[in-house]
């Protein structure tokens, strides 16, 4: 019931969402979250972002997260797509969508999956600004978000 993909190439969030919606006509509520590379101005603007993954663990970890999510809420469907590789402002990074009979389950499931993708999945992120590449460490907020669950 869950569809999990780890992609090295760009994807269209709108097309993925349209397909997911069409696949779940029985769901009364559909919640999605799209994370994209910020487009900013100024000297600290991010020019590019790179996500690295580890083949032995990243996709298996995402599949375990999907299983934990569908075990916790009664969902009709769950979609998790996460990019790796080099991305630029405006590029989608992550798409999570949950389909359920009732909206609260869909909201909670998508929120739970995103919090865990941010701070518990096997990805390493670096950003390129005018000053060069810099590895991004997790923010304290990310761990606080996890504690909600």
């Amino acid at each position: 019931m869950a569809e999990v993909r780890l992609l090295g190439e760009a994807f269209s969030a709108s097309e993925e969402l349209a397909a997911f919606t069409a696949a779940h006509p029985e769901a009364g509520g559909l919640v999605s979250f799209l994370g994209q590379v910020r487009r900013e101005e100024g000297p600290l603007a991010v020019e590019a972002l790179e996500l690295k993954h580890y083949a032995a663990m990243t996709l298996p970890g995402m599949e375990a997260l999907a299983a934990a999510t569908t075990a916790r809420w009664p969902l009709d469907g769950l979609l998790i797509i996460h990019r790796y590789g080099v991305m630029h402002p405006g590029d989608p990074i992550v798409l999570v969508a949950a389909a359920a009979r009732h909206r609260r389950d869909a909201f909670a499931a998508a929120d739970f999956a995103m919090d865990h993708l941010k701070s518990q999945s096997w990805f390493w992120k670096r950003e390129k600004t005018a000053k060069g590449w810099r590895w991004i460490e997790p923010r304290p907020d990310d761990h606080r978000d996890l504690a909600r669950w």
Binding site: K52, M57, V94, L117, P138
Partner: protein, 79 residues
């Protein structure tokens, strides 16, 4: 045959490579053969280890065999 070390995230920059073939043996011995500056980073408090894709609780007793892959995982940041 050899064992393989895998360096993720910023550890790849410090090591200057994503992977390194090493002689099998106890972890202590494997690390002692590396650049000490790299070994210190690999043993950092926030770096976790995974042997053949499975997280290690206690890395102290690890002995690498032929074909083993030991990954060093710094704090993650996805999404």
């Amino acid at each position: 045959m050899a064992a393989r070390l895998v360096f993720l995230g910023r550890l790849e920059d410090i090591a200057g490579t994503g992977e390194l073939a090493v002689s099998p043996g106890p972890l202590e011995q494997v690390l002692a053969a590396l650049d000490p500056a790299l070994a210190v980073e690999l043993l950092g408090e926030r770096v976790r280890m995974a042997l053949n894709g499975a997280l290690l609780g206690d890395a102290g007793a690890v002995v690498l065999a032929d074909g083993d892959e030991l990954a060093f995982l710094p704090p993650v940041s996805g999404g």
